[in-house]
């Protein structure tokens, strides 16, 4: 089965916002995320003849978007390497940090999610934002289907522990 340009356009129009959320969760920046989605779909168009048709087209495109997200943030590696995660643990009082509206969630939630290994994060993003089944997640991430369940379980357990720490 070949992937045609209209096929990709259909996915873009139907699931573009979901892919955007995936990219936004990964990059933490709206413009970068938008860029990643655009580049990911552009890459899918350019490489559509390499799609073998053996799996989900959305999963194949999701891999393109994730790779694009990696690429567009490559020049921001310094920021990624820097200790940029917010760590807001109340001690004594109930501290708050002033942030601009655009940084509202990223400033706090990213710290919690950011503690997870990248694969666990991607699995969560694919499951939640794109509603992928285990097979599609496995295909996107290049892992065995049997690994997906354990990966998601570990991610949720770790997330739950982190949240408990934040709240205590």
């Amino acid at each position: 089965m070949r992937l045609s340009l209209p096929d990709i356009e259909t996915v873009y129009r139907r699931r573009g916002a979901d892919f955007f959320r995936l990219a936004l969760a990964r990059t933490g920046d709206v413009e970068t995320a938008r860029d990643a989605v655009q580049e990911g779909f552009a890459h899918a168009i350019r490489g559509r003849r390499s799609y073998r048709g053996t799996g989900s087209a959305e999963a194949w495109i999701a891999r393109c978007v994730i790779n694009a997200a990696k690429d567009v943030t490559h020049h921001q590696q310094a920021m990624a390497d820097a200790p940029t995660d917010t760590d807001l643990i109340p001690t004594g009082g109930e501290p708050y940090v002033a942030v601009s509206p655009s940084g509202l969630d990223a400033a706090v939630i990213r710290a919690t999610v950011g503690q997870l290994p990248q694969r666990q994060r991607d699995a969560l993003y694919l499951r939640f934002y794109l509603d992928f089944d285990y097979a599609a997640i496995a295909e996107t991430l290049g892992i065995a289907v049997g690994t997906v369940s354990a990966t998601l379980h570990a991610a949720r357990a770790s997330l739950s522990r982190s949240l408990q720490e934040v709240q205590t």
């Binding site: 873009y12 917010t86 708050y96 706090v108 999610v113």
Partner: protein, 261 residues
């Protein structure tokens, strides 16, 4: 919705997405005539960006968000235009001090334009909200002051510490102050004391987009910069070890070393 789902939902909201298939085709090197007529022109995105820039320039984008906002909603929205008379009056006291000429010569630089005072950031503490107001000086600098709203620890002092920089530094630099709530007044300076929290306020210049705060209590805190200013509420007794400014691409710009609250 489970908690982890709620977190993911907040981590990446759908707002901000705008489909632009023509742009995808352009990036892919496809013929532009394949563009769907339903699409908005590229200028649309630019227009929205300009609108956002306009809103930012027009005044005050201020949100106080709880550190535990994972669970909670936005609790406070601070719109600082126009400032209260109390705030304007306080800024004007800098000019009064200047006229009395009892202060060092460099204080003459602090010719504050109080009519242009506006809010920049808001923070919520256990004691109540804290607002950061700024006003430009006529020499190109900026003065700031903190306002404590309904604070039980400082009932008689709604206006707190303030400071001025006579001119805006041309290079990249970062500086900060530690503000402590004491039983009856707010004060700035060093020392840990019995405070449950302190307020960090600082300025970062150049193309600084955010700062990373390293403290003795928790290693890292990322704080965005609004109009050169950053502010955060930190645990009492925390020793701020280093504050480093970065641009929007993550390039390190400047750092300010060890001080204590």
């Amino acid at each position: 919705m489970t908690l982890d789902m709620e977190i993911l939902d907040r981590l990446a909201p759908t707002s901000g997405w705008e489909a632009d298939w023509a742009d995808v085709l352009d990036r892919a090197g496809e013929q532009r005539e394949r563009r769907s007529p339903r699409l908005a022109p590229p200028q649309r995105r630019r227009g929205r960006l300009l609108l956002l820039v306009g809103l930012l320039a027009a005044g005050v984008i201020v949100i106080a968000t709880p550190a535990l906002g994972v669970i909670g909603a936005i609790r406070d929205l601070f719109e600082g235009t126009p400032p209260t008379p109390l705030v304007q009056q306080h800024f004007m006291t800098w000019n009064g001090m200047q006229r009395r000429a009892k202060h060092p010569p460099h204080w003459n630089q602090f010719n504050v334009n109080a009519s242009k005072a506006h809010g920049v950031l808001a923070m919520r503490t256990n004691d109540g909200p804290v607002y950061l107001w700024v006003a430009p000086t006529r020499s190109g600098g900026t003065c700031w002051l903190l306002q404590f709203v309904n604070h039980k620890s400082t009932p008689t002092e709604p206006i707190g510490p303030s400071g001025c920089l006579g001119t805006t530094p041309t290079g990249s630099s970062v500086g900060w102050w530690g503000i402590l709530p004491s039983p009856s007044v707010w004060r700035s300076g060093a020392g840990t004391g019995p405070n449950s929290f302190g307020i960090l306020i600082g300025e970062a210049f150049g193309d600084a987009s955010y700062v990373i705060v390293e403290s003795s209590r928790r290693p890292m805190l990322r704080v965005p910069i609004v109009e050169h200013f950053f502010a955060a509420v930190v645990p009492g007794g925390a020793a701020i070890q280093k504050i480093t400014s970065y641009d929007s691409h993550g390039k390190q710009l400047a750092e300010s070393a060890h001080q204590n609250f």
